[in-house]
Symmetry: C2
Subunit: 459 residues, 2 copies
């Protein structure tokens, strides 16, 4: 029986004994144990050497105090935070806000992560400039979208509140040593908090990057870290049959390698987990989508995450999952208690379709929808597993986030790839520089200019 | 040169002459011409026989008048519409609201498509009951989520405004003849509008289902239909080299059959198209995700749509698209004019990263991001195409929606599947009935009860 049951990984429906030929044999898991043990020990060694700093984040008591005190100050002086950041700089905060912030709260958190004049216009129109605190997050301090938005909202604040108050209404979260944001902060005496060294954006949710905005909307970030520590303890048991990170990594590795299922649908049955799904999709894609050179041969890894949501996508994507190509597995996430108890009123006894629903609790209906979907996928031989959460609170979300991070790193290790870099996207930055007319990037601009489109193929 | 340029399909980067071995040879397109012509003519014949009623929707002048008059009445008496529906009953309205409704408008449209007590609670708390009009959409009149939400908000209205006013605050859009909603409407004298016969949810955006909620938030639905008619004219040219629906269908068929690219990423560079992407994902998945029986052999079709968004997902999914498995194509959607012109303020001349951005228009930056991403994907040999829109307005969105529908049906015809049914999801309904304790569905309930989970596989 499980030691901890705040989150249970139910992988019955990944197994051949349940879903037949499309499933994984217990023998296949057994055969992986030596590799899994080696991998887990390798990661434990790296951690001891300080090479996996994201795993230390739950233990940073000192920075937690800084965060709480800063958030308290912001909450007392302002009514809203505008977070400017994108990718790893915004998805963590967005996940925490969606899952944990009380929707009845007064304090607003807006996240400016896309580059669109209508987004800027809406934010500038609806946020109170004299009551809005600006948090600008960019590790490198160079992200184009973030800098452009920063310049826009900086001017907006300067125009409305003046230079003096502007400086007390802004904070940068950036590299502790370098980058333009760091330099500007030093010269203009703008307050900063550091992105912890060695922690990439997609692993930064449990650092200042995710915690400060979350604390501003009243999320108990201490409990979040406590949850992460609890999961850390649980994951220290280096045995696949009791360790959900090892088991999930092994199952997704096997289902891809042995059955060619290169798509992983993430389908929570709880709208509070929308932000989590986008956060996880980045973590999983950027960490595992890698090109390797094995003895001169190019090998491409990666399992494509598909963001879905129950029950909505039953009416949109499920036909494809049930009858389309056998290239997917499905990860359900379920929450036993939905955070508010409401019942369907009893009415229309003469209509069975309505009478059946009367008196039912909404979370019971949601459970029925999920179990029916799970059953249909299982019948169709589609491997699926469920992360079952007792409820959604800071403690369980802390566990879920930490579990997802460790699972991702373990999966990367099974593929023998480096999960912490993103070499592919560097090239895009060069093209952007070229198109913006930056010095030294002319060759990229010319490359694009010489690559004329053939008008016959534009119809 | 293109006859119409409100929307241009640029497929340069799908071709081998551009991206190399991963692309499609012109010869392969040429070879498909007989099949394409046969398919197109077959569909034209079906249309003449009245078998493709979704293609007649843009020409329904009479129902347009009904919609406009009903919307006018709702706008004059209410301040908000609460639309209850899911899947094809909500995604069209959501797409039209996201892309075309003025974000400065006063009139609210809320869509209740998920089953969650917190969603119900938020809506009941923030909508003014005496100023809220309820639109309930379900073709069959039996959708569980929709009926449950209806019962809840019906009671909410009855409690706040009483029986008399409730009946003037609600409208059903359902089958013209049958189903529980139809029966209730007749008995209680509730106003109804019909879902046009033969038009399934995912093809209903240009009917009352999509148009009435859109008209309530001020969308010019007449111009939307005009755009659809214009696209219809354009698509009547039965020649693949000038017909974007035929070309896109052929390209996606070829890239899947010949290159095994079974994932289609849809990545607009305009946040107004978020709703469109979800609408398209349903259209594409449910229409094409099908199991066939060809001479006793099971064949599974379907290309999995992946919902993405530029520039945000550059910082989340792009690493995977660039270096991960060669199983994807990317569809960009770009808009030349972004609907508001804002510029990045000029500042910090001493920092090249910021100085480069100063003075640039936001839509220009968005274009730079997209072109750089396109270039990197093209360099990586990832097939990609771009739907280039002059601007986003009712006329162009009408074109886009109609183009997407025809393209989907054509693609289905190439795979020899029936694009209008969804046989796979029917089974889920039986399980739901069983779990809800409905009469006659005991066998489904027992099936689930007998399928006990093995606790060893719940960790």
């Amino acid at each position: 029986m499980p030691l901890h049951t705040d989150i249970t990984l139910d992988f019955n429906n990944m197994l051949a004994e349940r879903i037949g030929a499309q499933g994984i044999e217990l023998r296949e898991i057994e055969e992986m144990i030596p590799t899994l043990n080696q991998t887990t020990r390798g990661l434990a060694d790296l951690r001891k050497l300080g090479q996996l700093p994201f795993q230390d984040l739950p233990y940073q008591e000192e920075s937690l105090e800084t965060i709480l005190s800063k958030a308290g100050e912001i909450r007392s002086r302002f009514e809203a935070v505008l977070l400017i950041g994108t990718g790893g700089s915004s998805l963590g905060a967005s996940c925490l806000q969606d899952s944990l912030a009380d929707s009845r709260r007064e304090f607003r958190l807006e996240i400016c992560e896309d580059l669109h004049p209508l987004t800027w216009d809406r934010l500038a129109r609806t946020l109170p400039p004299d009551k809005t605190f600006l948090i600008v997050v960019s590790k490198s301090g160079k992200t184009v979208e973030t800098l452009a938005s920063f310049l826009f909202f900086r001017e907006w604040l300067l125009r409305h509140v003046g230079e003096m108050r502007y400086r007390r209404s802004v904070l940068f979260i950036t590299d502790p040593r370098q980058g333009p944001l760091r330099q500007i902060a030093e010269r203009e005496k703008i307050e900063t908090l550091p992105v912890p060294p060695g922690v990439g954006g997609r692993f930064s949710v449990l650092s200042t990057v995710g915690l400060l905005p979350a604390a501003c909307v009243g999320v108990e970030v201490g409990a979040l870290l406590q949850g992460a520590r609890r999961m850390d303890e649980r994951l220290k048991r280096e045995e696949v049959w009791v360790n959900p990170a090892m088991m999930s990594a092994a199952l997704h590795y096997l289902i891809e390698r042995k059955k060619g299922r290169r798509i992983r649908v993430i389908m929570p049955y709880d709208s509070r987990l929308r932000g989590y799904v986008s956060w996880f999709a980045q973590l999983w894609s950027e960490s595992l989508g890698k090109k390797l050179n094995l003895k001169g041969e190019e090998v491409r890894c990666g399992i494509t995450p598909v963001r879905a949501e129950g029950s909505i996508d039953q009416h949109s994507q499920l036909q494809l999952y049930l009858e389309g190509p056998r290239d997917k597995s499905v990860t359900f996430i379920a929450c036993e208690r939905a955070g508010a108890s409401l019942r369907v009123p009893e009415s229309y006894p003469e209509h069975p379709e309505l009478a059946e629903l009367g008196g039912k609790a909404v979370d019971e209906l949601l459970r029925v929808e999920r179990l029916a979907t799970e059953a249909a996928l299982t019948d169709a031989g589609c491997p699926n597993l469920t992360l079952l959460m007792k409820e959604i609170n800071p403690h369980t979300i802390g566990q879920l986030l930490y579990l997802s991070e460790v699972e991702t790193v373990l999966t990367g290790a099974l593929y023998d790839i480096h999960p912490f870099d993103q070499p592919g996207v560097e090239k895009i930055k060069n093209y952007i520089k070229g198109l913006l007319g930056a010095k030294g990037y002319d060759s990229y601009r010319s490359l694009l200019q010489n690559r004329k489109k053939d008008p016959r193929f534009m119809i």
